[in-house]
Symmetry: C2
Subunit: 205 residues, 2 copies
């Protein structure tokens, strides 16, 4: 199972941490959480267990750090060019979001639905990522002239969750094309932006 | 903690099962899963532990049965009058769906996000309920002249998940009015129905 240790490389602590996260991310992306061991990650990274434990005391600690790094990467990756028209920003952002899910399906599933997903740190990382995503979207919609209302914020939050679940589901079923899936998500965001300023059918308290 | 046993009533097995489910549903709706014990349910229902165990061998079995009964109830409760115009069916269905969530918040949270939510039987019950909900919505949309496409089915599935999560979130935050929340959900369903027959911006495989 374990691959032979690579020749040990001298790395500064930040570089070593990044390397361990990369190796961990790859393993967590290949296999369910329960089938990954921290010892195997040490072997693959070519470091001793002792060194590994100095960076990550448990598999759970490493998993949390990998989820955090993946969340940060997703937020950077899906940052569309603010100079583009809104619709193109949305399509470009969704394309990269889909790339991200396709490249990291097992890891993302583990973070959202697997045994490790009940971990409160993992949930907090995901909630924080969704919040950052929501803030950025609000910002871009505001720049495009969409009025920022509490209703819009709630609808955006729902939209982010919906896209995430539709994509996770689609990775299993592929019942429509990737382009259609992207369009379902994009259209629904454009629609909710169009209704952001709308009054409710009855008075709000 | 436990209330005094009520006088024991003779019930046929189906009636007894229903009674135990009712008592269980009430307790699971009041408190998190971990703080409910099957012994307490027996005391509240006024039955011996031995009798309780004949119906439900473990708390998990009872919880699954309560989730199933609650799902069936939700599906019946939110069945809008098919003679109404589509928009009114949607608003009426959402109103009852919101009633259902407000009345059973703790139980629903336990089924969707609590410690017991990872149980594969609970997940299967919820997936089956979502599927029935989706089928009925598709049916009503078809009657209203909306073309049934794979894209529509996927979008509906996303919509159901989105509403569920928005409502669960809203129960905690109440950051918009119930009417606004209902309108966000209703509008988004009307929008996706309007786009059901739309071609994607690129050819589907």
């Amino acid at each position: 199972m374990a691959q032979p240790a690579r020749s040990r490389t001298r790395l500064d602590p930040a570089g070593r941490r990044r390397q361990l996260l990369d190796v961990g991310a790859r393993l967590f992306a290949e296999r369910p959480y329960d089938l990954v061991s921290i010892e195997e990650i040490a072997v693959r990274a070519g470091v001793s267990r002792g060194l590994m434990y100095r960076y990550f005391a448990t598999k759970r600690d490493l998993f949390r750090a990998v989820v955090q790094a993946t969340a940060d990467h997703m937020i950077d990756l899906t940052d569309p060019d603010p100079a583009l028209p809104l619709e193109q920003q949305i399509l470009a952002g969704l394309d990269r979001y889909l790339d991200h899910f396709e490249a990291n399906a097992t890891l993302i599933r583990a973070a959202y639905t697997g045994a490790a997903s009940a971990d409160e740190h993992v949930r907090a990382i995901i909630a924080d990522k969704a919040r950052r995503h929501e803030d950025r979207l609000l910002d871009r919609l505001r720049q495009a002239g969409v009025p920022e209302t509490p209703r819009l914020r709630v609808a955006l939050r729902g939209w982010i969750l919906m896209c995430r679940m539709l994509i996770l589901d689609w990775l299993d079923t592929r019942e429509i094309s990737r382009t259609e899936l992207r369009d379902v998500c994009a259209q629904s965001l454009l629609d909710l932006a169009a209704h952001a300023g709308r009054q409710s059918t009855a008075a709000a308290p």
